[in-house]
Symmetry: C2
Subunit: 283 residues, 2 copies
Amino acid sequence: MQVFLNGEFVPEAQAVVPVSDRSFLYGDGLFETLRLAGGQPFQWEAHWERLARGASGLGLVCPLDSAEARTAALELARRNGLTDAVLRLTLSRGSGPRGYSLRAAHRPCFVMTVHPAAPVVGGVPLHWNVVTATLRLPAGNSLAAFKTNNKLVQVLARAEAEARGADEALLLNTEGFVTETAAGNFFWMERGRVFTPPLAAGGLPGVARALVMELAAAGGHRVEEKLLPGHEGRRCESAFITMSTQGVVEVSSLDGTALSSSELVAETHRAYWRRVAAETGGS
Amino acid sequence: MQVFLNGEFVPEAQAVVPVSDRSFLYGDGLFETLRLAGGQPFQWEAHWERLARGASGLGLVCPLDSAEARTAALELARRNGLTDAVLRLTLSRGSGPRGYSLRAAHRPCFVMTVHPAAPVVGGVPLHWNVVTATLRLPAGNSLAAFKTNNKLVQVLARAEAEARGADEALLLNTEGFVTETAAGNFFWMERGRVFTPPLAAGGLPGVARALVMELAAAGGHRVEEKLLPGHEGRRCESAFITMSTQGVVEVSSLDGTALSSSELVAETHRAYWRRVAAETGGS
């Protein structure tokens, strides 16, 4: 497998960063994961725009612009012989002197990797069992708008979920409200209406979240933003998770309580992948 | 400069980790920084114990035990010709498949680097101007007990402080209480009494914090733990920061208000470095 590292395509074994890299030391950087279908990235612009906003927020300058990075991503997929894949972009602040100060940390590091992913066929979403994690995300955190490399809460929440026999973790914020899951945005249904937490609750502004809201609205189901206290998960009749790598994942159970399967979830998932196919020419 | 990387001493240029390293991707790891004086690490056991607690909390196994790592640290200092230095230990979960799941991420990565540091002589602490950062740490965060590699809040808080012409940032938690500074623990004086926030406010259990509390008590000044609302910083007559790399740093001003210099701070600083000299044989 080849890796794109700071402007060059290198074999995986040579795709390394110094131990002084600030993302290794502090998680001082950003990332994006997006889907490749038919060899084409899906929603490149939306992902790049979020990366650029994050870079601005962190005071980082990406060494490539969107068009250069997109061209390199296509070439990376081609070199690795992948058409259906997950593409990961990582932007680190790079190396600098020891310590938190950014002075003299001037050369960011930009990496892209591709990872094989089964094509999504037949329009059937994955079904996951979800449990509420013990760790919480900070409420009112302005960094939540950026997909940073500080993801230990998500890592440990997912580990907790897996240790409890579940597939994914639901994350509350420090005020007890639902924010998102470890790897995606959370939606739930209540008396025929569809809800998702407002971004102010501390979740990431997901690219798939925005698209699913658009697709649901086009199908006559406007998604309403509402705070959901963590202990009121029982209000959810059905629920789903959106993520750029999978589209829509239906929640089979939440904290051990089975949820109903919803035709709306299946339909939204099909609409999502029709959009992927239309925009990329892939599955 | 040589680096200790996974059991070997390597030149700095070869001290690299794969771009799939989870600390590079997620900040999925831990670190310690401690002082070397006279070529000896100061408070090795306390730092190692905190690293071990963090490793346990994150479900990580350090590939070396304390004695092995200490021996390697001494050899690293010797090879680099450093007697007065800062030693940094970094423990990452290492590489694994893409995604948050820890399944199949089984080989942690352990790194030690040394960085020259001027010997502290004459007993005069540094004096820093401190400003309160905009970003906040989560209240009630169980991860706060560990020195993790998720340090973007600290990085950006320090950057904000420097942009405002200050040296260091004071961090509040999401409930508005003082927790710590970007790089150390915070103490303040009020009517002749010395206070520090309880660890429950979300600060790191600092090794220097514990030692300074011990030294102050031995000098007749028991440090009291008390919550300090961020907007009541004006209650501080004097203040100081403790950190393993510097001992005690006096706060010259807080959010633009000059604080008084305190003989107690200077005395505690001298006592700190007497202890360093006694335990390491260094300055």
